[in-house]
Structures are given as structure tokens and as C-alpha cells.
């Protein structure tokens, strides 16, 4: 059955590529999985070098950074398409890589994994490195509560230690963000090797705690955590005075590996990628050199040239991500108008309540024009009305983009902050290409 599944899957790959259907990220895998439900396991048995990246924010950028570093060292890398982070996306990536005989060719496989899917994937696939980036509230209508995800992660990872039934004992290294108390708790009981990264840079502390936080009460005993400083949301130098759960000693800090792109969250992505590369025994010097050539993943601080104007797209899909996008725009030397686009389709989450957790108040005295668009433009407009800042609302995205570009001076940057499906729409209009 494996061979038939491979053949069918590869055929779908080929067809979608030739016809430019743009559906090659998930459909080949979906078809192959239906023909051979054990195909993921069969692929993973062939390949020891599998790296998984899981968490709410930063997956796509971290994958791209790891890939950049490994390629710099001449290693071949296969990854799943951004957003194609369920089983079918992983199988599709394997199919793209495999020959018609089903044999894998790349040295390394790096997968971003949907936070809700990680436990399920760990049942069939044995990675040698797992990175846990962070846990924030994201699409409650789809993912449910942060606590539930953390519990399921811990359960699945504990099984790795004892070797689960279908897979033989294997040594997995788990790389954890020490600044996120909830993720630290997940790694706390693991017998496997756990390594930590954290920023350790007091100059990045926020003056005040933000409203959009998830884990400011101890995930283990429920007491209020104390924070020596906060980088954003609940990420920082934390400690529990009661049960003594504490911020672990970290193996790498922000100063060790400068981030190639703006934004505090990208410092975390850089550290996560650097730790993976160190596990693969790449030298610190080479990691730093490789990252100098890093270009952002699509829609993640991606810079596009549109009608002679410079545009930066910052995917902003949950309160914490949005707050960090705003912080990046406001602290950037490059000034310019802002276009906010809010959709409520399935990939965005149908519930837009979260916009009230975003600190749009930081835009109150913004000097440039602000444009509002998207399926839920009225909700977003209303949010800005209650900030007390002026804005222009547009029902049509193309029109909004045109107006915003017109307002952007030659030496300025147009900042676009869209939700997921809105980001795809924006890119399609600006570049004329379809992604997924």
C-alpha cells in the first residue's frame, strides 16, 4: 500500500504543480494518508533527522531560520509549507522530497506543528529535536484553552521518555523557552534532555504589564507569579514564591545571537533556531554568519515593493502577536501609514473578540494615516473609535491598498498588519501570486 500511496501522492504533487493549482501543500498528503494511514510513520522510520517546532507564535519564522542555517552549511532541508501544519501537510512535505520509489533524499526535515496537533503527531513520528516556543491565547473557538493544550503536550512528551508503543526508544532533545512559565512546566518532568533559551536582556523589559497575558498565575500551584521584568505578554523573568517553580538557567541568551529582523519576538525565534543549529553541531560563528543572509518568511516582516513604494507585512493573528507588531512598527525608524485588516474566516478564527485585548491605545498619537479594512472592518473601526484615534475605513481591500500606497511617501514604509487570510489576500493583490 505504501507504494500505491506514494505514487498517488506524488501524482497529485505533480498535477497541482503543473496546473499551478496552489494546493500542493496539503492535498497530496491527504490522498496518500487515505490510501496508507501509516504513511507518516513509514516515512519517519527512514529518517532520523526530524525537527518539530510547536507553539502559538513564531513557528514559521523559526523554521525558516533553521533552514537558512542548515543550508548555509550545505545540508539539504525539506520543510512543510507554512500553515500546512497538520498530518496532511507533513506527509505532503515528505512526498515532495521522496523519489517515486518512496525513498527520502534530504538530510533534514523541519516541520512546524499546529499546537493542537502535536500530541497526535508524536504518536507516529519520532523527532530528534522538538522546540516549544510559547503558549498564548489564540482562536479560542478552535484551539480551546491554553491550559488544556499544555496538559496534552506534557502527556505526549512524557510518553516519548518511556518510548511509546509503536516506536522504539529514542533520544529526543526538547528545546524550551525559559521565559514562558507554562512551557517550562511542560518540560519540567521530562527525563529526556531539556535545554532552555531566554532573552536575559533587561533593556527590553516593558514599563508595565500588558493586558493580554495568559500565564501570570503559577501553572503548577495557582499563586500569583512575581516578575522581575516582562518582555511581552507573560514572557519574562518570572518566579513562583509559593511552589518554587522558577525560571530555569538558560543555555543561550539574546546577546549570543543577534536577530536578523526587527521585533522582540524575532529575538526568541532567533534563539530557538540557534539552539537547534547548535544541536546539529554547527558552530556559533557559522550560525551568526548564516543568519546575516536571512530573508523573512512570507507575511512575517516580509518586505515587498509595490508601485515603487516599500511595504512591510506583519501577520498579526492574536492579541500578543498584534501587540508585538504594533510595538515593532512604533519603535521602527521607518515611518509611514498603517493598514489594519481583520478577517473572520476559518483560518483567522470566527470570533474577533480578541481585538479588545490588543493595546491599540499605543496608536493614539500616531502621526501618519491609519486605514482599516477586512470582513470585520466595523469591529476594528469601533475598537479604534474607542481609542480616540482617526482612521479611514474601506470595504474593499484593493481600494484600501491603493489609498494607503498613495499616502505612503517615497522614503516611507507602508505597514500592513493583517490576520491570516487577510495576509494571503494582501499578498495576492500586491504580488499577483497565490500562496496556499
Amino acid at each position: 500500500m505504501f507504494q500505491i500511496a506514494i505514487f498517488a501522492g506524488k501524482l497529485v504533487c505533480l498535477i497541482s504543480k503543473t496546473l499551478r493549482l496552489g494546493a500542493g501543500a496539503t492535498w497530496p498528503g491527504e490522498i496518500a494518508l487515505r490510501l496508507d494511514p501509516a504513511i507518516l510513520q513509514k516515512f519517519s522510520k527512514q529518517q532520523k533527522n526530524i525537527i518539530l517546532i510547536a507553539g502559538t507564535n513564531g513557528k514559521t519564522t523559526t523554521v525558516k531560520m533553521v533552514e537558512t542555517i542548515l543550508r548555509y552549511k550545505g545540508l539539504s532541508v525539506q520543510h512543510n509549507a507554512s500553515g500546512a501544519n497538520l498530518n496532511n501537510g507533513l506527509v505532503s512535505a515528505f512526498l515532495t522530497d521522496a523519489g517515486w520509489n518512496g525513498r527520502l533524499t534530504s538530510d533534514y526535515f523541519i516541520f512546524e506543528v499546529d499546537e493542537a496537533t502535536l500530541p497526535n503527531i508524536l504518536k507516529t513520528l519520532m523527532p530528534n529535536i522538538i522546540v516549544l516556543t510559547n503558549l498564548f491565547r489564540d482562536q479560542l473557538d478552535r484551539y480551546g484553552e491554553v491550559d488544556v493544550i499544555a496538559e496534552k503536550w506534557q502527556e505526549a512528551l512524557l510518553k516519548l521518555d518511556t518510548g511509546n508503543q509503536s516506536i522504539k526508544m529514542h533520544q529526543t532533545v526538547v528545546i524550551i523557552n525559559a521565559d514562558d512559565p507554562h512551557v517550562v512546566l511542560v518540560g519540567e518532568k521530562l527525563a529526556t534532555t531539556v535545554k532552555y533559551f531566554g532573552l536575559e536582556d533587561a533593556s527590553l523589559f516593558l514599563p508595565n504589564m500588558q493586558h493580554a497575558t495568559d500565564t501570570i498565575y503559577c501553572p503548577r500551584c495557582g499563586s500569583r507569579l512575581t516578575f522581575g521584568g516582562v518582555y511581552f505578554s507573560h514572557l519574562g523573568k518570572w518566579a513562583c514564591g509559593k511552589c518554587r517553580l522558577t525560571h530555569p538557567r538558560v543555555d543561550v541568551i539574546s546577546r549570543d545571537f543577534p536577530s536578523p529582523i526587527e521585533g522582540v519576538y524575532n529575538r526568541y525565534n532567533t534563539l530557538a533556531a540557534a539552539m537547534v543549529a547548535k544541536e546539529v553541531e554547527i558552530s556559533d560563528h557559522d550560525i551568526r554568519e548564516a543568519l546575516k543572509n536571512f530573508t523573512p518568511a512570507f507575511g512575517r516582516m516580509e518586505e515587498i515593493d509595490a508601485e515603487g513604494k516599500r511595504v512591510k507585512i506583519l501577520l498579526s493573528k492574536n492579541p500578543t502577536g498584534f501587540n508585538e507588531s504594533l510595538r515593532t512598527v512604533l519603535s521602527s525608524k521607518q515611518k509611514g501609514p498603517i493598514l489594519l485588516v481583520l478577517n473572520d474566516r476559518i483560518p483567522d478564527g470566527t470570533d474577533v473578540s480578541w481585538i479588545w485585548d490588543v493595546d491599540f491605545e499605543t496608536l493614539k498619537n500616531y502621526k501618519e494615516k491609519i486605514f482599516v479594512c477586512g470582513d470585520r472592518q466595523y469591529d476594528l473601526g469601533l475598537r479604534l473609535k474607542y481609542v480616540g484615534t482617526a482612521f479611514n475605513m474601506h470595504g474593499n481591500l484593493e481600494e484600501a491598498l491603493q489609498k494607503a500606497l498613495k499616502e505612503t511617501q517615497k522614503d516611507q514604509m507602508l505597514w500592513i498588519l493583517p490576520t491570516y487570510s487577510a495576509m494571503l489576500d494582501v499578498r495576492k493583490i500586491l504580488t499577483g501570486k497565490k500562496i496556499l
Partner: protein
């Protein structure tokens, strides 16, 4: 006369699940735009009776299971009795999200555990485990009479988003808040959504309920002023064109 209101916000750190803060922002701004001063009184573990008694309107947001577990004892034993006194006096309140479960007599979890509620509202809630699906989605409901504020814009509908597993059944001591037009409401059976006791509203709509329902925000403000200053106080009409656009978009 310079009017001033104190808005009490229950456990802002723990009862804020998904944009609940929007209700506080809306109450504050709609007062300020009318020249009414606002103080926010955060009510948490350390807040004493005197400070809670100073509140003229109370807001309670939603909480996830773990967070609810952290607040429930303090809320029931230390804050509950004071809140009940306030509501008996007619102080208005708004509770969103799982509030019907919290304010009623009890809430029975999916595995049969009975959690005692505040007992302020005559109603009970149950979770039927996997036998009844979670209620998730945009909602529309028609409000019962009595929420119109003299001289202000009004709609018969309220719009919101629900996301709850439990089902609530009202007793004779409370009135339903609204009649379900779209969505599940209290239990998906009797067509009721939320409950009203004196001037306190509990609803299953979660998160930012007031931004798209400015008539309910103004009703809360007007009741708060009436109870505090012991007379009817006319509210200035605001330009709510965008609020109603957002409201009507959901209909």
C-alpha cells in the same frame, strides 16, 4: 452638577478571557464623552468590602477553568455577599460568558461534580459532557422590554458571540434577558438567552458585549446614575453611527 461613577471590575487578571476588557472601555468612554467622571475599581483578592460598596456598576468577565478555580472561593465567600447587597439595592451589573453558571445556585460539571455558585440568580446550570455539543458562534437575540433609555437610540436586538459547553435553566426568581433569534442561548431548548435580576444582567455572550450593543451600555450607565443620585438623569445622545453599523452587520 458633575456626575461621577465607580465601575467595579471583578478579577481583571483572572476573569478576562477574550476581549472582556472591551466592556470596561466602552462604559468608561461613553461616560467620559458625556462629561461623567469614571473611576475603575479593580476587585481582586485584596479588595475590601468598603471599596466594593463604593461601586455604582459591576462588570464580570469570563474565565477559563483553571482561572475560575483560583477565584471561586474568594468570589463566593468574600465578595458574593457584598455584591448581593448591591444588586438588591438596584446597582446595575453585567456578567458575560460563563456568568450564568457562576451566579446561579450551582453548576454541575461534565463528570457530575456539583460546584456551588453565588446563588444571586435563581437558576441552575449543567454540563452534559459529550452528549451535547459546545455552543460556538455568532448570536442574535431580541431583548425583553425595559431596556430603552429615554431620548436615546435603541434597537430591539442584541448581538454577540457565544462559546460555552454548559446549559442554564432559569427559575421563577429571574427573567430571561432576551429571546434567541440565532445561536443557542441558555440551553438551546426554551429559546431564552441570559437572565436579569433587578438591574443585573447575566448573559452567555462572551467577551466584548457592549461595543456593538451601545443601548445596553447606556442602560447600565443610566441605571447606575439613577441609583447613585436617586433621580432620573437624562443622558446626552452620542453619535453611534459606527456602533449601529457594526451591530446591523451581524443581523
Amino acid at each position: 452638577m458633575n456626575f461621577k461613577l465607580v465601575v467595579g471590575w471583578l478579577y481583571p487578571e483572572l476573569m478576562s478571557t477574550y476581549g472582556d476588557r472591551g466592556n470596561i472601555i466602552v462604559l468608561t468612554k461613553r461616560c467620559e464623552w458625556r462629561g461623567i467622571g469614571v473611576d475603575i475599581q479593580m476587585i481582586d483578592f485584596k479588595t475590601v468590602r468598603k471599596n466594593i460598596e463604593s461601586c455604582n456598576v459591576i462588570f464580570g468577565g469570563g474565565s477559563q477553568d483553571r482561572q475560575q478555580g483560583i477565584v471561586i472561593d474568594d468570589l463566593r465567600t468574600k465578595k458574593g455577599p457584598v455584591l448581593k447587597e448591591l444588586f438588591e439595592k438596584g446597582v446595575p451589573g453585567l456578567f458575560v460568558c460563563g456568568a450564568p453558571q457562576l451566579l446561579g445556585h450551582y453548576y454541575m460539571t461534565g463528570d457530575g461534580k456539583v460546584l456551588e455558585g453565588l446563588g444571586i440568580f435563581d437558576m441552575e446550570s449543567k454540563h452534559f459532557g459529550k452528549s451535547k455539543p459546545r455552543c460556538i458562534g455568532n448570536t442574535i437575540a431580541e431583548i425583553e422590554a425595559g431596556f430603552r433609555v429615554q431620548g436615546l437610540g435603541y434597537r430591539k436586538t442584541v448581538v454577540g458571540f457565544e462559546n460555552h459547553g454548559g446549559r442554564t435553566y432559569l427559575g421563577a426568581g429571574v427573567k430571561p434577558f432576551a429571546k434567541v433569534m440565532k445561536g443557542c442561548g441558555n440551553n438551546g431548548e426554551d429559546g431564552t438567552e441570559g437572565a436579569v435580576y433587578k438591574n443585573c444582567i447575566a448573559c452567555y455572550s462572551h467577551g466584548p458585549f457592549l461595543p456593538k450593543n451601545p443601548h445596553i451600555a447606556d442602560w447600565l450607565i443610566s441605571k447606575a446614575l439613577e441609583v447613585k443620585y436617586k433621580k432620573k438623569i437624562l443622558l446626552k445622545q452620542l453619535d453611534d453611527a459606527l456602533e449601529w453599523q457594526a451591530h446591523e452587520f451581524m443581523l
